[in-house]
Structures are given as structure tokens and as C-alpha cells.
């Protein structure tokens, strides 16, 4: 008797397949990378163990809801419609707040849902009257999802770009941020890693449009009594990009190596949504 068995081939899983096996996603997002940098154990709880956060911080829900309102504004402009009124934007903010409130929202000491809503109205009003609500150039994307291989040997990077605009000599990646105070150069530096990765994803697009320069910028709305709306711009240089890629490489190696440990910090732990899981962690 002759027995047969199916032919077998051995193949090393690709980084995307390894990421899928580890996290259930066949890519890395910039927010996952920064989550690991902030606290490797928090990354594990969120992306590998898929634990539900115990709460969501009000700043996260607030920022996301403001973001939704601004996205709505630019989507209307993109579709050739008039800019929405502030009331319409606040309506979008309200809907987004409700949609994001599945998990209990942890408010700050002096905050209520109403004081935050009033702040949102002031910020959205400041945004509407700002020149930055009327962009120069052609919109290419609003909340555009980009994906690609950025670092050899690592999973694809997938992210959403708030706005993608091009003019005669550049493609601009624009990110909207809410902040307690005006940004300094140091804030720009801290925020640059995510945008530098996006810049790598946008580079082929800029090339296709005529070898245009890629520029990254942030439009920062302050959560102050009189909100300000300011733009900060950075043209990526090769050294910054190389450093960011190196960080991604190291983070991915550490994730694959199972390097998960708490990273205690007075600033991060006090607002961490996985504190109970962290306390119960035994290695």
C-alpha cells in the first residue's frame, strides 16, 4: 500500500501575518506604537489582551468629538457645500460625544458635560472665524486612511490622516489637536513621530503628483477661556525620518519579543484606564 500525504511547504510568516497572530490586526498604527512607548504593559492590555478600558478620559472623548465636528466642516467644503454654522458643528460634537460615551467617561475635577460643551462651542467658534478653516489648496482627503510598508521587516503602518491637501509645490498632511495651552517647539517635536510615518506613506502620492514636497502640520485649538487656533508646520528631514523608523523597528522587536512591563509614571498612571489590571498583573 502506498500512502500519500499533502505536499507541505515551509514559509516564514510575514511581519503582517505575525502582527495578525499577535494582536488580531495585520498592521501597526502610530497610536499603538506610542501606546507601547508610553507603557508596554498598557499596550499589552489594550492591543493583545483586548481588555476593555475601565473608563475613558474626558479629554479623549472631548478631543475626539471636536475632531468629528472639524471633519464634518471639511467634508462639506470638499463636497462643494457651504461651511456649516457653529450650531451645526456643536450638533456634530454632541452626537460624537454620545457615540463615544459607551464606556464611562471620567471627568476632570472642575468639569461637567455642560462646561465641556460650552468650551467646545467657544473652540468651534474660534475655528470657524479662523483663516485656518478655509484652506489654501485642493483637498485630497478628509480622514483618509493610508497604509503601507514603512519599515522593512515590520508590519505595515496604517493610519488616518485628518486632512490631505495639495497646492502647486507641496502635499500637506494636517493633523488637528486640542491642547490645554499653546504649543511650543517641544510639543511639535513630541508630536512629530506619528506625522513623520504618515509622511512616508504620503511620499508616493506626492511623487505621482509631480515630485511635490511633503509637509506636515498641526492645527492646534486651545482649551482656554479665549481659544486660539494656530498652525505649526514641519518639513520632514531625512535624519528625523530615519530616527522614527528606528524607533518603530525597536518597538516592534520588543513587542515580538514579549517585552511587556509596567512603566510607572505619575502623569500616565493617574489617567490610565487599566490601573486595576496593572495592579493585578503578576508577570
Amino acid at each position: 500500500m502506498i500512502a500519500t500525504s499533502p505536499a507541505r511547504t515551509s514559509r516564514t510568516p510575514s511581519p503582517n501575518q505575525r502582527a495578525l497572530a499577535l494582536t488580531g490586526r495585520d498592521y501597526l498604527s502610530p497610536s499603538a506604537i506610542s501606546s507601547y512607548q508610553r507603557c508596554p504593559l498598557q499596550f499589552r492590555f489594550r492591543y493583545i489582551d483586548n481588555l476593555e478600558p475601565e473608563f475613558t478620559s474626558s479629554s479623549l472623548v472631548f478631543g475626539g468629538s471636536i475632531h468629528s465636528a472639524i471633519e464634518h466642516h471639511f467634508r462639506l467644503l470638499f463636497e462643494g457645500r457651504p461651511a456649516p454654522s457653529v450650531d451645526e458643528l456643536v450638533g456634530v460634537y454632541d452626537d460624537a460625544w454620545t457615540a463615544r460615551s459607551d464606556t464611562p467617561v471620567r471627568l476632570g475635577k472642575s468639569e461637567t458635560v455642560e462646561t465641556l460643551r460650552n468650551l467646545a462651542r467657544r473652540m468651534l467658534t474660534a475655528f470657524q472665524v479662523s483663516e485656518l478653516s478655509k484652506l489654501d489648496g485642493r483637498l485630497l482627503g478628509v480622514e483618509e486612511e493610508l497604509r503601507g510598508s514603512v519599515v522593512p521587516g515590520c508590519p505595515d503602518v496604517l493610519g488616518r490622516v485628518d486632512l490631505l491637501v495639495h497646492d502647486h509645490d507641496s502635499v500637506q498632511i494636517i493633523d488637528f489637536k486640542t491642547s490645554r495651552s499653546r504649543w511650543s517647539e517641544f510639543d511639535v517635536e513630541l508630536a512629530s513621530a506619528q506625522q513623520l510615518l504618515y509622511a512616508e506613506l504620503v511620499a508616493p502620492l506626492a511623487e505621482a503628483l509631480g515630485d511635490l514636497r511633503v509637509e506636515i502640520s498641526w492645527i492646534v485649538l486651545t482649551k482656554t477661556k479665549s481659544p486660539s487656533v494656530e498652525r505649526h508646520t514641519l518639513t520632514p528631514d531625512a535624519k528625523q525620518v530615519a530616527r522614527t523608523k528606528l524607533i518603530v523597528r525597536r518597538v516592534w522587536d520588543a513587542i515580538e519579543g514579549g517585552n511587556f512591563h509596567p512603566s510607572p509614571s505619575a502623569m500616565s498612571c493617574s489617567t490610565c484606564a487599566f490601573r486595576n489590571a496593572c495592579r493585578a498583573w503578576e508577570g
Partner: protein, 149 residues
């Protein structure tokens, strides 16, 4: 019965001494009465040649997009003509075109086909989609408010 037959073919060079080629033949039966109207007959011939040439170009574009050396379709980029890669319209551009066409009660895919000879919106390049958005916006009354640019 008058029979009209036209054919068109084209070959383009590829890196590493490769080439891509496509050819097509079209045959059309016409009323014999057309033979006594040279202008009308020439018009039909020209139209048939245009159709044949478009079919060949379309076929070659498809081969270039799907052929070896091009990026994954998921990345919405393809090989192009050797100068620059073709970059397809972003999802946001496609959404915006559909939304504007919806308001103008236009069939978005048909509009794209008429303007750029593509089967559907997904085949538009980034630049074509930008142009189409500009054109469509100029048709909307909302554009008078100066939004979006």
C-alpha cells in the same frame, strides 16, 4: 449590406526589455445607402477607429495596473508609463464625487466614463479626480460661497 472592418494595435516598451501589447478588431454592418454619402461613411469609420483605439488603450492601462512590478491595488498605486507611478483617487475624493453627483442628480460613474473614459470612479487617477471635483463644484450653487478650495 456594407461591412466595415477596422483594427488597431499598440505595443509599449517595459523595463528589462519587456513589452506590453494589445490589439482589437471591430466589424460593423451598415446600410448600403451609406455608400452614397461619403461624409457620413467617413464619420462612421472615424468613430469606429476611435472606439478601437480607446479599447486598446484601456486594455494596456489594465495590463500596466495589474502586471508585474506594479504595487498592490490596495495601495491604489500602479506602474504608470515609466515616468511616474499612477496614483488612484483617494477614498475621500471618490466619496466627494459621489456626494456632489448625488446632489446634481448625475450618475457619477457615467460622468467619469464620459470625461476620462474609465469604467468607474475607482479607476480615476488622483489628478483626474481633482479635476472632476473642481468641474462638478463649479456646477453647484454652493460653490458661489467659495468653499473647499
Amino acid at each position: 449590406m456594407l461591412k466595415l472592418h477596422v483594427s488597431s494595435s499598440k505595443k509599449i516598451g517595459q523595463p528589462d526589455y519587456g513589452s506590453l501589447g494589445a490589439s482589437v478588431g471591430l466589424e460593423l454592418e451598415l446600410d448600403t445607402a451609406l455608400a452614397s454619402d461619403p461624409d457620413a461613411l467617413n464619420g462612421r469609420v472615424r468613430k469606429l477607429f476611435d472606439l478601437a483605439r480607446q479599447a486598446v488603450e484601456h486594455e494596456l492601462q489594465g495590463q500596466q495596473r495589474n502586471g508585474p512590478g506594479s504595487s498592490a491595488r490596495d495601495n491604489r498605486t500602479s506602474g504608470g508609463n515609466g515616468d511616474r507611478p499612477i496614483r488612484y483617487a483617494t477614498a475621500s475624493q471618490v466619496r466627494a464625487i459621489r456626494a456632489i453627483c448625488g446632489r446634481l442628480k448625475l450618475d457619477a460613474d457615467r460622468e467619469a466614463n464620459q470625461r476620462f473614459n474609465v469604467d468607474d470612479l475607482d479607476e480615476l487617477t488622483l489628478a483626474q479626480a481633482s479635476t472632476m471635483i473642481d468641474d462638478l463644484k463649479s456646477l453647484t450653487t454652493a460653490d458661489r460661497n467659495g468653499g473647499g478650495r
